[in-house]
Amino acid sequence: MKRLSLTPYVIWMVLFTVVPMLLVLYYAFTVPTEGGTTWSLENFTRFFQPIYLRVFIRSLNLAVISTLICLLLGYPAAMIMAGNAFKRKHVIMLLFVVPMWMNFLLRTYAWLTILERNGFLNSLLTFFSLPRVNILYTNGAVVLGMVYNFLPFMVLPIYSVLSKIDKGVVEAAGDLGANPFQVFIKVILPLSLPGVVSGITMVFMPAMTTFVISRLLGGGQFTLIGNLIEQQFLVVGDWGFGSAISVVMIVVILLSMAVMSFFEGEEKDVALW
């Protein structure tokens, strides 16, 4: 009887999750011909032209930079919040998460207000008679937008792993003669690796695929691979090519997840999400 309740969901899942994914594959591996469509790898070979490869490399580059900055900013933050610098830890964590609940688009738009030529930042600089800066519509602004939007994705998994570490282990290391630096390198860091891995995956993936941040804060049309996909579907109408790029992107993400889970080792306790 209870199995019956699964039926609507299974039908839904097949129709709206499985079939669409198969369609993406279908469009990626076929090209239209006069009488219909044929199987072909043309969409993929097109992607490896220098002009598109450059977009791909730029995306990869910006995503890696943003992920690194998130890690450098986020790890200490997670460590402090997991430690005992604050009495009401859960309030601090809640305060940390609240901005994430604001509409993603509005959060990105907010930086537009700050960075534009007559925006908040420049009026502040003028007020202190400092030279104005123009960073809107540059790669720097895109990285800033990514770090701003994705930083909590880095901090939260690291925080949750760090706060589960047995205090006794850390004390034992100290008792056995390790100095604080050694304790960190040899005990805390290895134990927190699963969180770092989840964090990196959770930042890298959206950073690699976003098209909104680059469109609002970055210059030019083909800034990132997400923009390229968007263009193919909504402007050019070349679904085959757009699907092929999506497939490449999924493969890259799966590969990076596989590499990451290799580093994650045996610890299976921490879910990716």
Binding site: K2, Y9, M13, P20, N103, W239, S243, W273
Partner: protein, 278 residues
């Protein structure tokens, strides 16, 4: 001293996170159209916001899609969770993996795959396609909020209900559903929040004439700064904040109740970030 340094670092991060929102809020009350100047306090942008047809229409669309997709997703998701809970082995693994697919997939991939589906089946893009897409990305989150509640459920409750003369359907309706209600409500609120927050999937699956708030904001923002968006952001932020507080207070109360009652394995953190992302 070290403690002071640590705290300052966190406060700096908070400043980074809250500064843009604060700037938006302050500018939404600024009378000068050119930013950077303070032209005096005004509620003008709020008035103009509510007089703007496009924005108001997209607000209705957002609410209609949000409420209906959340309700439908909750029904499908709750039923699915009960089914999954009673399934074992390979089918369970298979279903769970496909359930995680929309959660793990990059949003843009989910979006284009749905778009291809609607093109392929020659559906007209508009309310229906939007609704179907929103239900699709909402259901997994409902399942993931209901399943833990089912796992905490006392197995013998259902059997006891049957022994006392309930039909299976009655047992489900009168015993199991009330027991897992907190999970269902959390799933519902989550689905609603996700739906009103979504941009990418809506952007690809909507048709001419129908646009959600996110889409309207995107097209306005592409044309540059607009003080009405600031006013809108302020309202939306306050609203989402209120929702978030309700969810958290509920969860905290639940946990307290559980701690006082039977022993329950510790749940995942309520400060789960996965739901507010790009």
């Amino acid at each position: 001293m070290v403690r002071w340094l640590k705290r300052s670092y966190i406060y700096l991060i908070f400043a980074f996170l809250y500064l843009p929102i604060a700037v938006l809020m302050v500018y939404s009350l600024n009378d000068a159209r050119s930013r950077g100047m303070w032209g005096g306090f005004t509620l003008r942008w709020y008035v103009e916001l509510f007089q703007d047809r496009t924005i108001m229409n997209s607000l209705y669309a957002t609410l209609i899609i949000g409420v209906s997709s959340a309700l439908i997703a909750t029904v499908i998701g709750t039923m699915a969770a009960i089914g999954i809970h009673n399934t074992r082995g390979v089918p369970k693994k298979l279903i769970m993996n496909v359930t995680y697919l929309p959660v793990l997939n990059p949003e843009i991939v989910t979006a284009i795959s749905l778009m291809l589906l609607f093109v392929f089946s020659r559906m007209r893009f508009g309310y229906i396609t939007l609704l179907l897409s929103h239900i699709t990305f909402n259901v997994p989150y409902v399942i993931l909020s209901v399943l833990p509640k089912l796992r905490q459920l006392n197995k013998h409750l259902y059997e006891a209900a049957l022994d006392l003369g309930c039909t299976p359907l009655q047992a489900l309706w009168k015993v199991i559903i009330p027991e897992i209600m907190p999970g269902i409500i959390t799933g519902l609120l989550l689905a609603f929040t996700l739906s009103i927050d979504d941009f990418v999937v809506s952007f690809f699956t909507t048709g001419s004439g129908v646009s959600t708030l996110s889409i309207t904001v995107y097209s306005m923002a592409r044309r540059g700064i607009n003080p009405k968006i600031n006013a809108l952001s302020t309202i939306m932020f306050t609203f989402v904040l209120a929702l978030l507080i309700i969810v958290n207070v509920r969860q905290a109360r639940e946990e307290r109740k559980e701690r006082n009652g039977r022993r329950v394995p510790k749940k995942d953190s309520p400060y789960d970030p996965r739901f507010g992302s790009a």
